[in-house]
């Protein structure tokens, strides 16, 4: 009962936050509120038993997306949204109200929240719940569905992430000089000592935790996507505290580009190996002595590929944003 109550309260909070995001004009404040919005949605996922999803949202929303939006604000030098008076507000408002009303009418026939007899619960899901543990030997069903049963789907997603990274590089990667930063100062970090000491202590722990998430993902919540995001957040923290040049000395962008390709290559390569061993593409059963061992090995490799690709792509995106307009 208490979970339903928490659920309702959090949903009300998230609705209030969304309206505030809509009404505010200061973009900086909006991004702060968007951080809170993402905290709330991750808590909601946790309340609704979606542990892995909450994990991903926690790692993405609190770190990466806020940082990227802030970088955009810095690059476009726009703090405030211009509100034009001439805008006719009734047209979009009426479109939205009509669409919303139709959608709400549609929900009246939906099964109630948490109904175990709902159509979504009775088709393919029972198969996964009954067979996944037995067929792959992994307790975390989300991982086995992600990497094995729906391996094609995940391959597609990884390629989309990779493509987005390439596109960001093409758009912002080149050297772009801004005229007003004429002084060539030596990158000297003025951030306070306290921040640097704490960051030095935290960053190794974040990296170790990311590795735990990567390899424990078969048994508990976690996996390649989450680990990649957490690992890139660690390097982003390093960049923020010690400066961009220092970070590029630690991980040169050329290596990151190779890593991003390598991640996707590992994923597709596992598929090719399964074909060569006489199975179907991404059917890991042929990889090991027994079916279960093969599945386990295949999932481990594929998750590793996903982790490397996501880590490298997100970091490339961040470094490209951060380095834009550098003198």
């Amino acid at each position: 009962m208490i979970e339903v109550f928490i659920d309702i309260i959090l949903l009300s909070f998230i609705a209030v936050t969304a309206v505030a995001i809509l009404r505010m004009t200061n973009l900086f404040a909006i991004i702060m509120l968007f951080g809170i919005f993402s905290f709330l949605s991750a808590s909601l996922f946790a309340v609704m038993d979606a542990v892995d999803v909450a994990f991903t949202e926690a790692a993405v929303g609190a770190g990466i997306s806020t940082v990227l939006m802030l970088a955009t604000i810095a690059l476009t030098k726009t703090q405030k949204e211009k509100v034009s008076v001439s805008h006719r507000h009734w047209l979009p408002l009426s479109v939205v109200i009509v669409t919303g009303a139709v959608l709400v009418y549609g929900t009246l026939d939906l099964p109630a929240f948490g109904d175990p007899e709902a159509p979504a619960q009775t088709h393919v899901a029972p198969y996964y719940i009954d067979k996944a543990v037995e067929e792959t030997g992994l307790p975390n069903m989300v991982t086995s569905v992600l990497a094995s049963y729906r391996g094609f789907d995940t391959l597609g997603e990884v390629v989309v992430v990779f493509t987005a990274g390439v596109a960001v590089l093409l758009l912002l990667g080149g050297k772009h000089r801004i005229s007003d930063t004429g002084t060539n100062e030596i990158e000297k970090n003025e951030h306070s000592l306290i921040l640097r000491v704490v960051a030095k202590f935290l960053i190794p722990l974040i990296i170790v935790f990311a590795l735990y998430v990567q390899f424990h993902g078969d048994f508990g919540p976690g996996g390649g996507f989450q680990a990649g995001v957490i690992l890139s957040a660690a390097i982003i923290l390093y960049t923020l505290v010690f400066g961009l040049d220092a970070a590029e000395r630690v991980i040169p962008p050329s290596i990151l580009r190779i890593l991003a390709s390598l991640g996707v290559l590992i994923y597709t390569g596992v598929g090719i190996v399964t074909i060569l061993l006489g199975g179907n593409y991404l059917n890991y059963s042929v990889l090991g002595d027994s079916k279960v061992a093969g599945q386990h090995l295949g999932i481990l490799l594929v998750e590793l590929g996903v982790g490397i690709a996501v880590f490298a792509v997100l970091l490339v995106i961040f470094l490209t944003f951060a380095g834009r307009g550098r003198p």
Binding site: I9, S43, T66, L75, P221
Partner: protein, 99 residues
Amino acid sequence: MYTAVSLAILVSLGLVLARALLGPTVYDRIAAVNMFGTKTVLLIAVLAFSSGRTDLLDIALVYALINFTGVVAVMRLVTYGSFHSSRKADTKSVTADKG
């Protein structure tokens, strides 16, 4: 018992959310986001115990770690104006905030 604690955390979440909505300066909002993050960590930790799913503690752990990155990013932007230069930016434009 867990119910009482989660209710208390929800109340404080509401109060912090109100502060984030009201402003008036950016720093109030940043403080609110930071405190919201900590309270979310606690809420998830309490929830992990009340429902007996201790896996949720991993999420709380992620939050405790990643929340810091976001706050540092905001500080850096407010103080330096960009992520690559170490020159002090004209911060007046950022701090002059009316919600």
